[in-house]
């Protein structure tokens, strides 16, 4: 479990979106979306084209809502932009840097736009941007460009950081470096809203996950809540063939199932909790069976998403 979030005592949400609608021509990108994000890390998870970027860019003040309301840190991102911008950090999905600028030059410049920026040298070191040297932005690798954009989002010591697909196209090592930074931000009381289509990223980082599909939030909760709530879980064990599963079923809660799938291989489904496990093992003890290879299969976010949408997430 994660440590309690700093700032969780502040009850007002960092982002509150109500009934947001955004169309581009005839295409409806966001279709009545409601989302409340509190202090901590919120992952907006969904397939490409689900409306993630439109939603986050509305929060950043780049898009005006066709209808609905958006409040970020209690402010209207378009009308109160000048009060909001110093308090947030933005990482766009790509670009944002002069093609002729060097990494440290651009980061130093971004720092100068803020009153109390982070130590640029330390941040350069932390994100491994020192090796970029005098290379200009257009000649940096994709991973270096991503890390520079991330550094620019945090250098102003914002309260809230928006990261649009922060690890897209990164190798595993760079990906973990980004995750570590997000964890450090959270530990120091910075709230983070990130979009991703990687399940593991949401599971690893987020206090709260909002699953978006076709421009709406179809589920929201902690990774644990989502995995528990969406579907039943499964417990498997092996033992002597031909046991009386009927008597096991009687001992289990009403909504459970029990079956011998192949001789000696048993499956129980239901709300798998310590109580259910105890019921199964004591039933085995009564029958003089040593349950072998007990395994509990938890549903992943991937399963939850598949059940909710009937679609696989592309990763």
């Amino acid at each position: 479990m994660r440590e309690p979030r700093l700032g969780a005592m502040r009850s007002e949400p960092v982002v509150r979106i109500q009934a947001l609608v955004k169309r581009y021509g005839t295409k409806t990108a966001v279709d009545g979306l409601d989302l409340t994000a509190r202090a901590g890390v919120t992952a907006v998870l969904g397939p490409n084209g689900a409306g993630k970027t439109t939603t986050i860019e509305t929060c950043e003040g780049y898009r005006t809502a066709d209808s609905g309301t958006v409040r970020v840190l209690g402010l209207d991102p378009v009308r109160e932009a000048s009060r909001l911008h110093p308090r947030i950090g933005v990482m766009l999905q790509s670009g944002g840097v002069y093609s002729g600028a060097r990494a440290d030059e651009m980061l130093r410049h971004t720092a100068k736009l803020h009153a109390h920026p982070l130590d640029v040298d330390a941040l350069v070191e932390r994100l491994g941007l020192g090796s970029c040297g005098r290379t200009t932005y257009r000649r940096l690798s994709g991973g270096q460009q991503q890390r520079l954009a991330l550094a620019m989002a945090v250098v102003g010591r914002p309260e809230l950081v928006f990261l649009d697909e922060p690890t897209a196209g990164l190798d595993p090592q760079a990906r973990h470096a980004t995750w570590d930074l997000v964890r450090d931000l959270r530990a120091d009381g910075v709230s983070v809203i990130l979009t991703t289509h990687h399940m593991d990223e949401a599971e690893q980082l987020a206090d709260d996950v909002a699953i978006i599909d076709a421009g709406r939030v179809i589920a929201q909760g902690s990774p644990e809540e989502l995995c528990r709530g969406g579907a039943e879980n499964t417990l498997r064990f092996t033992g002597r063939p031909g046991l009386d599963v009927g008597s096991l079923l009687k001992a289990l809660p009403a909504d459970s199932t029990a079956a011998e799938l192949t001789p000696g291989s048993y499956r129980v489904t239901g709300k798998v909790d310590p109580q259910l496990l105890a019921t199964v093992t004591s039933w085995c003890a009564q029958h003089g069976v040593m349950p072998d290879r007990i395994s509990v299969e938890r549903h992943t976010l991937e399963d939850v998403f598949l059940e909710l949408t009937g679609k696989e997430l592309r990763s």
């Binding site: 911008h85 110093p86 944002g96 410049h109 100068k112 736009l113 010591r157 009381g189």
Partner: protein, 256 residues
């Protein structure tokens, strides 16, 4: 919370003058680092001045060629920086999300535009110094009122900036690149920079004389070559272009 970590929030915008100064410095560095930009703003005007002052390729009328050419090349320098260079650079900044990213920074949009203008002016000062030194070395003897010259350069900058930003904010970056270079070439030939406008047929002269480059080169020439007073006609043409261009840019500029 009393504990402070490395990233503990401490948000705030820097003071506006500091932001604008930093942005101006960055924009100017980007411009001076770009080889194509330097070719356009420094190499071509200098080369034209030296070449046509020393080689008798174009009939520049009575008097020294350098006295005719220097005002034209100064006008060209203003156009190369305020129009061509600014249009191309801003077009690609828009394309690569630089304008977008800056739009969510503490720097307000008008602050960014102020910095861009300041960067253009800094570059023009460097151009004027270089071209003046080269012209004096070639035997240039200027006349006239420096204040009129300054007024012409400032209004010319405003006119060309408006048109350059209009192009950068409405066309695709590649289209801006092509169009800005084409316009540069056409105005170089047809705007009284090197070729006197009276070489063109009368009907064409009337139209060409209304171009911002013609107004600027003609006005600078009236003052610097002929020692005329303030050229209100040319200033008027530049003012109309400036107001129209800046208003259109403000109305149609798209930030991404």
């Amino acid at each position: 919370m009393t504990a402070t970590g490395t990233y503990t929030p401490r948000p705030g915008a820097a003071p506006l003058p500091r932001m604008i100064a930093a942005q101006t410095a960055l924009e100017t560095r980007m411009l001076l680092r770009n080889g194509e930009q330097l070719l356009l703003t420094v190499v071509i005007p200098t080369l034209l001045l030296v070449l046509f002052s020393t080689v008798d390729a174009v009939d520049t009328g009575p008097g020294e060629a350098v006295d005719f050419l220097t005002p034209g090349v100064l006008a060209l320098a203003v156009m190369s920086t305020a129009f061509t260079g600014q249009a191309i650079a801003t077009g690609f900044e828009r394309r690569y999300g630089v304008l977008k990213r800056l739009a969510s920074s503490p720097l307000p949009r008008w602050g960014l535009m102020t910095a861009k203008t300041a960067s253009v002016l800094v570059t023009e000062v460097l151009q004027v110094i270089l071209l003046t030194v080269v012209a004096f070395a070639l035997g240039w003897s200027p006349h006239g009122d420096p204040l009129s010259v300054l007024l012409l350069l400032v209004l010319g900058t405003a006119a060309f900036s408006g048109l350059g930003l209009l192009m950068a904010g409405t066309l695709k970056a590649e289209a801006t690149l092509a169009a800005a270079n084409l316009v540069f070439l056409l105005l170089l030939v047809g705007g009284g920079v090197i070729v006197p406008l009276d070489k063109f047929p009368q009907g064409a002269q009337d139209v060409l004389g209304l171009l911002p480059i013609s107004a600027l080169s003609d006005g600078l020439r009236d003052v610097l070559q002929h020692g005329a007073g303030t050229p209100w006609g040319d200033l008027g043409i530049l003012a109309v272009w400036a107001v129209a261009g800046l208003a259109a840019a403000a109305a149609f500029f798209r930030w991404e």
